[in-house]
Amino acid sequence: MSLPGVAGATAGASAGAGTLRRAGGGAARFLARGDGLVGFAILLVFVVIAALPDLFVGPLEDVTTATGQPLAPPDFANLFGTDELGRSMLNLTVHAARISMTIGLMATVITIVVGAVVGIVSGFVGGAVDAILMRISDFFLVLPTVVLALILAPVMLDVIGADAELFGIRSTLLVIVVVIGLTSWATTARVIRSQVLSLKERMFVDRARVIGAGPGHIMWRHILPNVVNLIVAQAVLTFAGAVFTETTLAFIGLGDPSAPSWGQILNAAQAAGAPGLGAWWYIAPPAVCVVLVVLSFTLVGNALDDVLNPKSGGRR
């Protein structure tokens, strides 16, 4: 990387402080990064909105409870204007935060669990298992979520039926969650696998194995704690991707009209011809929310990745 002599000089000089800095934790370094902090602040706002939408704008309006004129521009009654059914855009957008972010969160959990398990097993067990798992992950790496969803989502909906419910969540949303989760774990698996490979070489695994621990125990007790940092950073980045993907899927008509996410609102806006009518207020609120959430999660994720991922150094 840098020139040998200089690297020697600086490495020698900083050796003493290394331990201290690690002990001080990544928190300080994360806080020192302005972009990550801004992202984090935006996130907090959205999390609060998503947690308590009723508190801010009352219950979700539908055709019967809508009070405004159809497609009215912003005024004092409706600060964000109304949609073609006269519903308040403010009300819709705030409620959509909950739906978009819940889908994103659930999809992220599936993605991360599958990715972490595949990554750890693949890296730790190695051999044929590794080869097969990595081939499969290559497949999912090449065929992106939205393309796979084109075929998976309608089939799954037909199999379980669009109006079914599971744990009180409508099946359309669940299908989106499962499709995103099952198709986007490959990146996480790759990142974690490479970290596990280098961990495996370290002494403590050998020692644990010598005293008779099984591979499951080693993976759970010795490998997992060492990749938790990586998993956190990956989870944040995955969440950004999941919200992005959900928006796209809902926009092309795979969403649930009765549970509007931001993408679903944009789908409705497109169907109502909002761009051609110049109804910018129908488009701007959900669009700005998507961009803000994806952007802030990306910023936080990159900052975390820089701080927590030993391999990423100056990446991105």
Binding site: M1, S2, L3, R135, D138, F139, L141, V142, L143, P144, T145, V146, V147, L150, I151, L152, P154, V155, D158, V159, A240, F244, T247, T248, F251, I252, G253, L254, G263, L266, A269, Q270, A274, P275, G276, L277, G278, W280, I283, A287, V290, V291, L292, V294, L295, T298, L299, G314, R315, R316
Partner: protein, 322 residues
């Protein structure tokens, strides 16, 4: 490029496509009522349906007969008949929508590669400068925007508000059909969707090129180039850029799948008569033969894009070429 490298990459491409076909087979046999449904095309006569049942061996066991006939038909390009488009063969329906998408995506990729890679390179080379802050900021925002979110304001600004450009479709109905007018007309319709595709791509390309350049900048051979007393600009474009480009080749291919997804949404916004619009029609009508066909096309394009990227990488990097 060693033949071993090429064979490896080819093998993976074939593996992916085979896996895709198998996945489709399993999915469509999983559905309730399937596979009968595939043959109960409302636009077909009883005789045609019976012929189809016969052809796909639907009265025979799932494995191996149905699988064999399914794979056989798929390999020979027989993707069945669309429901929505009155029993037209799927290949024909898709063929008609292919070129508008190729035109839009091809030009968009081209523009984005030139501008995005250049922007990222300059941004990374001058890390921390005002150019970098602005360029990287814009790129991050663009990267966070779904393509249709880029497209919608473009329509509202240039078409709805300023009446400068057409809002939808690929040509004006009833316009004179001489070559020059047609080209101009298509060109005018192309400007906005093309701008949206390019902007969407530029963000990602520039962010990754920036980080690639930042990594390359720390390499010893860049110090060598500085020691040679070369101009900064020459070091960037003749020493750093070709090296920083290498990881980008793979990334551009991997992102191709996402680009297709984004393009689908843009075609809806601009009513562009391509694969994206067709996809949504097929989704709405649950036209499964057509969906299958589109999915297969997208899968093959993505796989081929990756294969091409691997081969281009081999050509660009002498270490692989040897």
């Amino acid at each position: 490029m060693s033949s071993r490298y090429v064979v490896n990459k080819l093998a993976f491409a074939v593996f992916t496509i085979v896996a895709t076909v198998l996945l489709m087979f399993i999915l469509f046999r999983m559905m309730p009522g399937s596979p009968d449904r595939a043959t109960k095309n409302p636009n077909m006569t009883q005789a045609q349906q019976a012929a189809l049942r016969e052809k796909w061996g639907l009265d025979k066991p799932l494995f191996p007969d149905q699988l064999v006939s399914y794979v056989g038909a798929t390999v020979t390009g027989d993707l069945g008949y669309s429901y929505k488009y009155r029993a037209q063969p799927v290949t024909e329906v898709i063929g008609g929508a292919l070129w508008p998408t190729v035109l839009l995506l091809g030009l968009g990729e081209l523009i984005a590669m030139v501008l995005g890679l250049a922007l990222g390179a300059v941004s990374g080379w001058r890390r921390g400068s005002p150019v970098d802050r602005l360029g990287n900021g814009i790129s991050l925002v663009l990267y966070a925007m779904p393509y249709f979110v880029i497209g919608m304001p473009l329509i509202m600004l240039f078409a709805t508000a300023l009446h400068l450009l057409p809002t939808s479709g690929m040509s004006t109905p009833g316009a004179p059909s001489d070559l020059l007018t047609t080209l101009g007309d298509v060109g005018a319709h192309l400007i906005l969707p093309l701008t949206a595709v390019s902007l969407g791509l530029i963000g990602g390309y520039s962010i990754l090129m920036r980080s690639s350049i930042i990594e390359t900048r720390a390499e010893d051979y860049i110090t060598t180039a500085r020691a040679k007393g070369l101009r900064d600009r020459r070091i960037l474009w003749t020493h750093a850029f070709p090296n920083a480009l290498l990881p980008m080749v793979t990334w551009i291919a991997i992102s191709f799948g996402y680009v297709i997804a984004g393009a689908i949404t843009l075609e809806i916004v601009f009513n562009w008569p391509g694969i994206g619009t067709l996809t949504v029609e097929a989704l709405d009508a649950r036209d499964y033969p057509l969906l299958q066909g589109i999915f297969l096309l997208l899968a093959i394009s993505v796989v081929v894009a990756n294969l091409i990227a691997d081969l281009v990488y081999g050509l660009l990097d002498p270490r692989v070429r040897a």
